[in-house]
Assembly symmetry: C2
Homo-oligomer: 148 residues x 2
DNA sequence: TATTGTTATACTCTATAACTATA
DNA sequence: TATAGTTATAGAGTATAACAATA
């Protein structure tokens, strides 16, 4: 006895869509030599330098021990800078380099170009509303989305 | 130097939204005595009986070894039926019970009631378009979303 | 003593391989 | 022999605990 009435849970729909888009993103990023975490780090640093690795980890909702290898690799490749703070030599000042910004821009352009394939299924009105709502919800703090 | 132009990746926005909604769902489901996988199984069986555990696992994109414990528990609690197929006693015929359907309905009502809190931020027009687009995209096969 | 970053360890989830029973 | 289901094992990803350097 099929059911039919009602809608699927919002969580099920956005979850599946998010996983599918992430799966689509992986090969694009790998073509640019980036892991998902490396890409997330470059995106975060592109909005400005960060004063400590802990702060960066918190900003991207990662564990601080989890991004160390990522930072090592990005630094070795000259995509980020990681220098001890002269005022407090325990903390590392993190910033993206010009080369890192170039790579980030190229990767993101490729990612979004691919996403256009999906958005092209929508009408102009659907596309505009969908993206606006998504951006509004994305701007909300986590607690407003996930609750107390 | 902040950037500002362009939009966040679709994958980042839907991914975060999906994870947040899933996180919001967990305590609601637990209040009904259900894990996420148990809930997914009940939802899948509600659309009709399934002829084998392998088929069910494939339908919900899970490994067949992963759902065994879930099925054991659901069966012990009388929420599903699992009987050997008389025609081929290797396969198990799976179906949801009336009690299982009651629990599923109660759980889903609670889940969606919570999701309404988020949707109430939208205008009627935004809400209608957003849900319609989401359902359309959700109905697409995985390959259309994630690509080749 | 407290904190940043790092390394080492343990845990959770998932997938793979080996096994039983039916065919 | 091949397949459905189960159990046992191993792997990936992640978090926790212990450590070194600096404050």
């Amino acid at each position: 006895m099929a059911e039919g009435n009602g809608r699927p849970d919002l969580a099920a729909m956005t979850g599946r869509l998010g996983r599918a888009l992430a799966a689509a993103e992986v090969p694009v990023l790998r073509a640019h030599g980036l892991s998902m975490w490396a890409y997330v780090v470059l995106l975060a640093l592109d909005e400005g330098p960060v004063r400590s690795q802990s702060a960066l980890a918190e900003a991207i909702h990662a564990d601080k021990t989890r991004i160390i290898g990522v930072l090592d690799d990005l630094q070795d490749r000259g995509l980020i800078e990681r220098v001890p703070d002269p005022g407090d030599r325990r903390v590392r000042l993190l910033s993206i380099t010009a080369e890192g910004r170039r790579l980030r821009d190229a990767a993101q352009a490729a990612v979004q170009e691919r996403e256009e394939r999906l958005l092209s299924r929508l009408t102009e009105e659907e596309r505009a509303t969908f993206l606006r709502v998504l951006q509004d919800l994305h701007a909300l703090p986590w607690e407003d989305l996930a609750g107390p």
